[in-house]
Amino acid sequence: MKKLLIASILTITAGAWAQTVTVKVEGAWVRGTVATQKATGAFMRLTPSAKVRLVSVSSAAAGVAEIHEMSMENDVMKMRQIDGLDLNAGKATELKPGGFHIMLMDLKAPLKGGDSVPMTLTFEDAAKKTFTQDLTVSVTALGKGKAPNAMKPDMKSETKSDMKSEMKPEMEHKQ
C-alpha cells in the first residue's frame, strides 16, 4: 500500500514537469572530420522554457562526449571540460566556435558533410530531476566555412522534454 502511494506520487510529479520544461534546439551542426581524426566539435543554440542545466551529452558516433568551454587568454587558446552549462529560462545560450561546444572524442568513424550524428542531451531541472532530449545533428563538411548555422527561424524545432522524439535536422547544409 505504501509502495503504491509512493509510486503514484512519483508519476504525478514526473507528469507535471514533463508538461512544462522544454528545450528548444536550433542551428545544430557538427564539424566534419577526415579519416584518422578522432575528435571534433558540435555547436547549437539552446533555449529552455525554464531554468535548466545541461549536465551531459552522449552520442553513438563518439566514445566520449564532453561539454567544453574555449577561451582565449593572451592569444593562447584554452579548452576545458566543464561540469555543466546553466541555461536561463527563455534565453538562448549559444554553443559556438570561440565559446562553448560539445566535444566529441574517440569518434567511431569519420564524419562526412551531409551525414548526421545522433546525440542525447541530458538536462537537470530546478528540482534536480534529469531529463533527456535526443537530437539528430547534421554534419558540415570540414573546411566549409566557420559558422554555417545561419538562422532559419522557420525550420527551428522544438521537442517536449518528456518525449524521446527524434528531431529533424534544423537545416540543410549545402555542400
Binding site: 575528435a39 592569444d75 593562447v76 579548452m79 566535444m103 566555412g145
Partner: protein, 219 residues
C-alpha cells in the same frame, strides 16, 4: 608556470609601441590586450597594419622541420610568397579549423591573381597524434595548397620557443587537448617576420595586411 614568462615574452619589439605598452603595464593591464594596442584598437589606421606590427622582431625568424610529404623545409622554401604561419593541432574542434577556414576566405578575398603568392603553413603542436598522413588529408580538406609541418616533439618544442608560441598538453577524460597560441604570423616575400594577426581578427583584416605586404614588395 608558463603564464608569467609568456606575458613577459609577448612584449612587442617595436620602439614606437613601447610607451603605450609601458603605460598599460603600469596600469596593471596585460600588454597583449587589444585595448592596449594602439594599432589594433584604432582599427581604421589605414597606414598601419591591422595586425600587430612586429617588423624587426628578434624571434619568429625561421624553422627547420619536415612537411607532410617528408621533405625538409625552412622559410627559404617560400621566398617570394607571403607566408601565413599558424601553430595548431588537428583534434581541435574550434580555433584551428576556424583559422584554416579563414585562411581559405583570405585567399578568396585576395583573388586568383594574388592567391598563388600566398602560402599557408601549419605547424602541428601535437606531433604524436598528427601523423603526416593525417596532416595531409586535413590540409587538403581546406585547400590543397596548404602545407603542414611536423617533427619530433623536441623539434616542435624548440620551434615553438623560437616563435614565442606557447603550447601545453591538457588531459581531458581519457584523452588530451592542447592549449596553444593562436596567432598567425605573416612573413613578407623576402622571408622577414612582419605581422602577428590575432585570432579575433577577420578575414578582411588578414587579407588587407597580406595585400599590403604583396604591394610593398612590388613597389
Amino acid at each position: 608556470m608558463p603564464q608569467k614568462s609568456l606575458l613577459f615574452e609577448n612584449r612587442l619589439g617595436r620602439t614606437s609601441r613601447r610607451s603605450a605598452l609601458k603605460a598599460c603595464v603600469a596600469l596593471g593591464v596585460v600588454p597583449w590586450l587589444v585595448a592596449c594596442d594602439p594599432l589594433v584598437s584604432s582599427g581604421a589606421a589605414s597606414d598601419g597594419f591591422k595586425g600587430i606590427d612586429i617588423t624587426g622582431a628578434d624571434y619568429a625568424r625561421d624553422f627547420a622541420l619536415v612537411d607532410f610529404n617528408g621533405a625538409p623545409r625552412t622559410l627559404a622554401d617560400y621566398r617570394g610568397q607571403v607566408v601565413m604561419l599558424y601553430f595548431g593541432f588537428v583534434q581541435c574542434p574550434d580555433v584551428c579549423p576556424t583559422a584554416l577556414a579563414r585562411a581559405v576566405e583570405v585567399l578568396q578575398l585576395l583573388g586568383p591573381a594574388a592567391a598563388p603568392q600566398v602560402q599557408l603553413l601549419f605547424i602541428t603542436v601535437d606531433p604524436e597524434r598528427d601523423t603526416p598522413a593525417l596532416l595531409l588529408e586535413y590540409m587538403a580538406a581546406f585547400d590543397p595548397s596548404f602545407v603542414a609541418m611536423t617533427g619530433s616533439l623536441a623539434q616542435i618544442k624548440a620551434t615553438a620557443d623560437a616563435f614565442r608560441v606557447y603550447f601545453k598538453k591538457v588531459p581531458t577524460g581519457s584523452t588530451y587537448t592542447m592549449d596553444h597560441t593562436a596567432l598567425t604570423y605573416l612573413f613578407d616575400p623576402k622571408g622577414q617576420i612582419r605581422v602577428a594577426m590575432r585570432h579575433e581578427q577577420t578575414a578582411a583584416e588578414y587579407a588587407a595586411d597580406i595585400q599590403r605586404l604583396l604591394t610593398e614588395d612590388e613597389a
